[in-house]
Amino acid sequence: MSARIQDDQRDTDLADAPLDAALRRVWDTPRGVWGALATVDHKVIGRRYIATAFVFLAFGGVLALLMRWQLARPESRVLTPDLYNQIFTVHGTSMMFLFAVPVMEAMAVYLVPLMVGTRNIAFPRLNAFSYWMYLVGGILLWGAFLVDMGPDIGWFAYVPLAGPQYGAGKRVDIWAQMITFTEISALAVAVEIVVTVLKQRAPGMSLDRIPLFVWAMLVTSFIIIMAMPAVMVASTALILDRLVGTHFFNPAEGGDVLLWQHLFWFFGHPEVYIIFLPAVGMISSILPTFVRRPIFGYLPLVLAMVSVGILSFGLWVHHMFTTGLPRLGESFFTASSMAIALPSGIQIFCWLATIWYGRPVYRTPFLFILAFFFTFIMGGMTGVMVASVPLDTQLHDSYFVVAHFHYVLVGGAVFPLLGGVYYWFPKFTGRMMSERVGKWVAGLLFAAFNFTFFPMHVLGLLGMPRRVYTYQLDMGWGGLNLFVSLSAVVLAAGFLLFFYDAVRSARHGEPAGDNPWGAATLEWATASPPPSYNFARLPVVRSANPLWEDDGVLPVAGGLRVDRRELLVTTVGGALPEARESSPRPTIWPLWSALATTALLLGSILTPWAVVWGAVPVTIALIGWFWPGGRKEEES
């Protein structure tokens, strides 16, 4: 066999070693700074996304500790009221826009192409662009905060507080443009995932054989595509009100302050499910591995995810029950909020049945799932409570709500995510995380989380409002607040231990091997960490648990060229091969495009003319990006 690869040579012509060498030649990211900036490998970008999101989690966590320090005692003066306002705003904004949504999408950026058996994500240059945009959005928010220009309006930026009349300076504009950065990024990833799942699945992976994490990410991506434009429109209208003098939210000139709340929560409530559904997918993918049996109720679980995805668009007004809307209209949203408990219950019972009929192995990822069950069900039940108009009217803007949404978000998303990190860490790095430390992490986080947030229900029922920077001694909230603050320190210690374990294991963990858990899905059919081309020969799928069938020996598809980046396009329903398509090579243009877009968006905080003049470099960068390479794009 000649070492030189001829034009149009196919993988079927090569043995394993020459095939590996040929594929590395075309798929490997170039070394050095240029390679790092130009990479379009979904695994490299996915790892960056995950690491960056966890950095923002740590930053947001530090802010939470500062808040708890301030609230530990009545009439405390640790923080000024202004700094406290900035801190709770940047904490919420970081956790929602810079951690929770991006980290779930990041896991998908890394895992979905591997789980569907393809060589790269669809639109890989867009993927690179999305990461740079996300990074700049995060730097913008935190850079502003560090120079005392952090937004101070809450993560929801209600008008008129955020409008030109009450929100002087540029703090609100920074929040609004940070939204633009992160939403562009999220929308880009969502589009990539939809196309990857619908058109790049391995041959034979029909819709009823897709891994449930992939189903979850498909539904999540559609929610993102439909929900996020609402907040982008809202934040753009807010900037226009502040910068150009429009009156979208000014009632005196025919605008409407409630329009902001409608637009924000039309995005904001689906956002909860944008964070939660990937966790559902993670649990559904992790659980079978640790109970040694296929998931119980594949179809009901898919049905539940699709139902939740659609129903999530009919719940937004339950954030607005105290705004004076007609009670009957509000009751429609109570109805939807109650109805969404049905598919959520289906999910829980399918998982319980899977455990019931299986043989559980109590490893760290499974422990996080058990922690999820208790915590999320608690959060779900208080969610049904605050979906009731009379009860919500009493509890609105109290610490009861703070407790509720932390139970939903941390219990429903962060615990499964940490379980997912322990589960997929061997695939990311080729090394195992420590089982002993992992059990400590799971135990510490579960106990400390409940000690921190359960008393907040009681504080809310005692009347403590959200977002107050202090309270008086005679309110009687001091004891519980001190307990909450001390528990928060233990919670932080749990996260610190997790970070320590991740960093240590990445260098010194036990080597993992390809499939250390004996799992069933395709990402475990390749090396750990996977090579740049993911699969030397594309797998062919004949069941929903391909590695548990046929003694784990996968049939493979052949015929792809090895002299260029090539992947297989398949049909939407049955995943029948349709075409061979080239996949883009590394390029610096997504970075230039992101920088040009950054200049435009940052400039528009100061002057509307930045949109006009900033469009020139953006256009140049996009022309460079899309300049034809003279290659034949697709062969059927």
Binding site: L207, D208, L303, P326, R327, L328, S336, A339, G573
Partner: protein, 104 residues
């Protein structure tokens, strides 16, 4: 299975969610029309939508009968969606039955 039959199934799959979305939107408008009138659209329209959703679900279920693979899977999911959204619509109808539309 014939193409029209398959399309009937797909319509069934989509009917319940679309009807529910329409009902949610109407729920923001109808209270103003209902208040002070005997018409009670906030009760009748979700109930009518629920009946149509059941019909759509039945179509999807019938179309799925004997059908394996991806198409049968999607149609069965559609029939299940009809059940979930029928419940959601009936809960909305219940709200329309209990309230007059004048409450603020």
């Amino acid at each position: 299975m014939t193409a029209p039959r398959l399309w009937m199934g797909v319509c069934g799959l989509l009917a319940a969610p679309v009807l529910w979305i329409a009902s949610v939107q109407l729920g923001q408008v109808l209270p103003y029309a209902d208040c002070g009138h005997a018409w009670r659209g906030s009760f009748w329209l979700p109930c009518l939508a629920a009946i149509l959703a059941v019909a759509g679900g039945w179509l999807a279920w019938r179309s799925a009968a004997g059908r394996r693979g991806a198409a049968g899977f999607v149609l069965r999911v559609g029939a299940g969606l009809a059940v979930v959204f029928t419940l959601a619509l009936l809960l909305q109808g219940l709200a329309g039955w209990m309230l007059t539309g004048c409450e603020r």
